[in-house]
Amino acid sequence: MTDVIMPQMGESIAEGTIVKWFKEVGQPVKKDEPLFEMSTDKVDAEIPSPGEGVLLEILVGPGTTVDVGKVVGRIGVAGTAPSGGQQSTVDSRQEKTAPARELVAAAAPARTNSHGVASVEELRRVRSSPLVRKIAAEHGVDLARVGPGTGISGRVTKTDIMAFLEKGPSVQEAPAQAPVTVPARFFHTPTPGQKFEPFSPMREKIAEHMVMSQAISAHVCTFFEVDMTRVARLRSKHRAAYESKGVKLTFTPFVMKAAIDALLEFPILNSSIVDKKVYYHPNVNLGLAVALDWGLIVPVVHKAEEKSLLGLTRSLADLAERARIKKLAPEEVAGGTFTITNPGIYGSLIGTPVINQPQVAILGMGAVTKRAVVTEEDAIAIRHMVYMALSFDHRIIDGATADKFMSRVKATLQEFPESAM
């Protein structure tokens, strides 16, 4: 016999109302056939039957609200007397304490696609004797559910299966409600009262994108050290002029400009791979990773190659500000062809960024710090230095190309033309 329970429809849902039963007592029901309909304030749901047989009893009638985990009906072989004496009684008060076993059954996915489970299942099925398999088939029992048997290598013996059949319904056929599409890889038993936080949609998106990117691209990272002293000087010199135009001049626009020039010279870094074809993008749509308190977003400066240093500075400030107040239009976070990320603002010296798909490379800059450097003239000087990392997709970009690109970025920054200010 199989208990039909009120399933857990969501983490925050504690109870549900039975709307109607699709079957009457005595009617046959197939596994997964809609059995009853339940409703919570804004959601209606058809609940599939957890087992096959005949609907033996309905314990909770339409219009009654009961806690999740409560047994609302029973399914079994025709003619079997329902266990327990409370046939067809509808009492919602007594059900506040749903038996723990049933709650567990509700939460535990009975079928998973996990490879491990399948192989154990297979093992037991194959290794059990024909007699045991015959008994199992006659009673509609899945041998994998009988658990490790007392036979060799966990094989299920005749004694095991007879004991199992005697034990009764709930163990025999744990009602399966939550379909699990992704097998759980890690198990963690939360300590009582331990806090947890479900993924936000943004976090889910980031997590998925990061793993996908690592799976798609052959990530290789190359590191360069760039002397930013000239840029630092230009920045100090022109800072006031930029401020009078309402923008703060940081190092980032210089790096953007250097990257744009290099992308125009090495267009393969400004491309995407689709079906073994490289698509070159006619414009440089420059993505800029912006850290948010609640995640990360990459707004895009479209046609960045058409913008002056002042224009880039303005776009950067505007996009970063609007990203933080959630005022970006959808088109402003789409269509990027290359991305720059700046972990340096939090003090990082260098990192290995993950490519923002479907792009093929990403430039990361570390913190600009003053360091003692040996100059061309073999003197030791104090210079503004930065480490830069380029993660590139080795499927289409080879090391030599990536390094030529980075050399170009480095040269532009070290010899930044004042005319571009």
Binding site: I13, D41, V43, D44, A45
Partner: protein
Amino acid sequence: MVRRLGLVPYEEAIELQQEVVEQRQRDEIPDTVLLLRHPPIITVGSRGDLKDVLMPGDIPVVETKRGGQVTYHGPDQLVAWAIMRVTDLHKHLRFLEQVVIDVLQSYGLKGERVEGRTGVWVGGNKICAIGVRASRWVTSHGLALNVGPDLSAFERIVPCGITDAGVTSLNQELGHTPPDPEARFEAILLSTVDC
């Protein structure tokens, strides 16, 4: 996958939705969102009460298999039906609300949730109604966002059984009807979820 269907009579849309739901249940298709509009109609959900249909006039009234009570649909609305495989139905409601809140935000409007009253609200008035059905863990129905100016038909019903709050629309909040809100909705939806 997002499918833009345009103006589709309610009953016809229900039939199409049923096909999509069955395909999704068999895992033949990915999660799918149907974007559509309906000619004027009053729909009564499973928890609806016909006494909330005050004076339908010439607007047809149909009972429908979704959660929630009574609502009105008309061509000035954006309707999104989400046929998605889910594991948590309340999370699904919050997800639908979030997409609408993000869409509103992209127009500079502050959409809010009200505890115990599923839907999205602007300044105390309801701009988006939500009602969902699930069958074998595949959802259907979804949300109706008021876009255009014609809200008069809401006076013919008690929307969602709520008597102490009004309804509003993008047009009413912005002073104009934004062009192609479906494109905006689709872009934000796709930036939130794979479908």
